[in-house]
Amino acid sequence: MSLLEFLQRMIGRQAPSATLAKQRLQLVLAHDRSDLNPELLEQMRREILEVVQRYVEIDLEEVDVSLETEDRVTALVANLPIRSAKPVRRPEPSQVPPAPAAAAEEAMPEATEPSPTMEALQRAAASLPPSEENASSSGDGDSVTASQPWG
């Protein structure tokens, strides 16, 4: 935080508009580039939560599923803080989703060494079009992050 931001916060004034412009642009471009409208994103968010909740208990207050973009690559980033590391219950066989067609296309280094103490980043794929569905679940990490870049 800069002195200006601190002072502005004290007197309740708005931050310089350039920062706001950049944030708004990054958000709108992430959506433009992925061609995902907010309703689809919301639907996807619900379904991702549904799947993850079968395995672990999630802190629903802190859940954040959003599109982020960097270097013209857009990624779906899901930050799902896990309340209890141990699985809530085993899923009924009928509820088990079809086995993933393949492991995530790219090997994600973050996913290789999940440890109970460190935050395991598990990247489950959600590539477009949705028919190419990939999924994998995390070990006993504290958080689950799903990310799949698309152009």
Partner: protein, 275 residues
């Protein structure tokens, strides 16, 4: 035009997505600057709906034939090309009737541009605004592109759409010109910073053009700023862009070093990151 050159012509699309950000002004000034630097250059007005390149170059009264007659075969290309009086290495191929939009195809554009490329070192295509038919036709004929934008959210967003389409069409390299930069607003953080725009669009920066009243004066006269080697900030920027295109290593200006008022200096101090 000059004799056929040995190296293949550079065919450069100048586009922006959004209208009014400076495509035509850049095309006119870059065309003159390249010609003054010794490169034979043809500028093609591909904005058939709302043509203006002739006006900015001061050639509006000298048009006899257009791209339309060339395509129809009712005139030779040489008859349609309008040579610039003061800068004979530059020629304009004017846009035809807006009704051309109804039948023009990407192949037509390729054909015209192919003819022009045989006669020049540089072919600059002034692209229409938007991302529809007119843009697609123009992009089909281009090998590389310059995307011009201003540090405003709408212009940057539209530029991003255009860059995505250029990627799909396989046009490259694509370089960025940031136009109408106001150093004081940037210093006050009330305008997107240069780095913000290049980060977001992920393109190499070919040039920065400062906001400059002389641009309007020059369009009033139909004499691009680069024509007389004017020393105004925008004229310098356009000349530098031309030199960089030719492969010369010319340093970019630093907006934060331009015209720093007391207010900007104070602002810089109090906006420094403390923690």
């Amino acid at each position: 035009m000059d004799a056929v050159t040995s190296a293949p012509a550079r065919i450069i699309l100048i586009c922006s997505g959004k209208g009014g950000v400076g495509k035509t002004t850049l095309t006119a000034n870059l065309g003159i600057a390249l010609a003054r630097q010794g490169a034979s250059t043809i500028v093609l007005d591909a904005d058939f709906g709302l043509r203006n390149l002739d006006l900015l170059l001061g050639l509006e009264n000298r048009i006899v034939f257009t791209a339309q007659e060339v395509l129809a075969g009712s005139c030779r290309l040489e008859q349609a090309l309008v040579k610039h009086k003061q800068e004979p290495k530059l020629a304009l191929l004017p846009a035809g009737n807006p009704r051309m939009l109804e039948w023009l195809t990407p192949d037509d554009m390729k054909k015209i541009v192919g003819l022009l490329a045989e006669r020049a070192d540089y072919v600059l295509i002034d692209c229409p605004a938007g991302i529809e038919e007119g843009f697609r036709n123009a992009a089909a004929a281009a090998r590389e592109a310059i995307v011009i934008t201003t540090p405003e959210v709408s212009a940057v967003r539209d530029a991003d759409r255009v860059i995505g389409l250029l990627n799909i069409q396989g046009v490259k390299p694509v370089q960025l010109v940031l136009n109408r930069v106001r150093p004081r607003m940037m210093a006050n953080q009330e305008m997107l910073a240069v780095d913000d725009v290049t980060d977001i669009l992920a393109l190499p920066l070919l040039g920065l053009v400062l906001e400059d009243e002389q641009v309007i004066v020059s369009t009033n006269r139909g004499e691009p700023l680069t024509l007389n080697g004017a020393a105004s900030p925008a004229a310098q920027a356009y000349q530098n862009i031309a030199r960089r295109l030719q492969g010369e290593d010319v340093a970019l200006i630093d907006p934060s070093k331009e015209r720093q008022g007391l207010r900007a200096t104070i602002k810089r101090i109090i906006t420094k990151k403390l923690f």
